[in-house]
Symmetry: C2
Subunit: 166 residues, 2 copies
């Protein structure tokens, strides 16, 4: 019984560009997981980047609580697009993505390419990227919502988030 | 079978001060919920403040997806402490709080005090705070984790988060 119009619109060209810009420029994100001990939501800040194919990616320590959560329950959600110092933070655009986490095995054939690509965007990570207790985790999009400010919400598909080939 | 030392320490005086400062200065936050349709995590940016007793509080629109999620499943998590423009965002302190959401009924005796207190910290909200489809929701802390940067994590209780009386 829906009595209101759906406030979320399909993405237009401007929304697609904004969503891809947010993804490509983000170096950190907020991650929502389900805590395996309590079954309730957990939240944390993560390092964020893209793999060479444009799939969202993070690098996590074995000490982080969200690492255990993602290993136990790969369904998660991630938000990029930090408000600036000025203006109303709720009008600043942000992209919220439902994802499935996929750990990248260190012996996987594409691990070296992922590592090199990550270090291009996160040069300080060279201090710890090769430690045995750090792992890359792909955050493969299931669906996404772009909020460009009040009354400007757009639904996006996983394909919408992939950068156009050069 | 724990083979590592627990990386999380009990909070000391410095950690308590930092946690309370993050809470008091935050005007927005990231919120993790469980999506009632899929049972998987959802994430969004919310307006954030404290009620007159120092309890975390948000003001939500009925159009927001997280409003329906909180109504269906009040267990949630909130993160405050935005990284600045400079420096490594993962070394910027942030406070992650597991909460239970409690909607504040507009006819509740303390609604007027909550509304007035909110408008002091969020003056622009006077444009919509009295709209029928906006609700205050207390985010009552269950437990909290302060991350002050690499290897500086502290566990806090709900009592730790309440500001000291003047």
């Amino acid at each position: 019984m829906t009595t209101r119009p759906d406030p979320v619109q399909p993405a237009d060209a401007e929304a697609l560009t904004l969503a891809r810009d947010l993804l490509q420029s983000a170096r950190h994100a907020a991650l929502a997981v389900i805590d395996p001990e309590t079954g309730t939501p957990g939240i944390s800040r993560i390092a964020f980047g893209l793999d060479p194919q444009g799939c969202p990616l993070t690098l996590v320590s074995a000490l982080a609580a969200h690492r255990a959560a993602l290993a136990a329950q790969p369904a998660a959600a991630v938000m990029v697009g930090e408000p600036g110092e000025k203006g109303d933070p709720l009008t600043h655009p942000r992209l919220m993505i439902r994802v499935m986490a996929e750990f990248v095995d260190r012996s996987a054939p594409d691990h070296a390419a992922i590592r090199d690509h990550w270090l291009t965007d996160h040069p300080k990570a060279k201090l710890y990227v090769d430690f045995a207790d750090f792992s890359f985790v792909r955050l493969r999009p299931v669906s996404a919502l772009l909020n460009g400010g009040f009354a400007r919400a757009y639904r996006l598909s996983p394909e919408d988030l992939v950068p156009a080939p050069n």
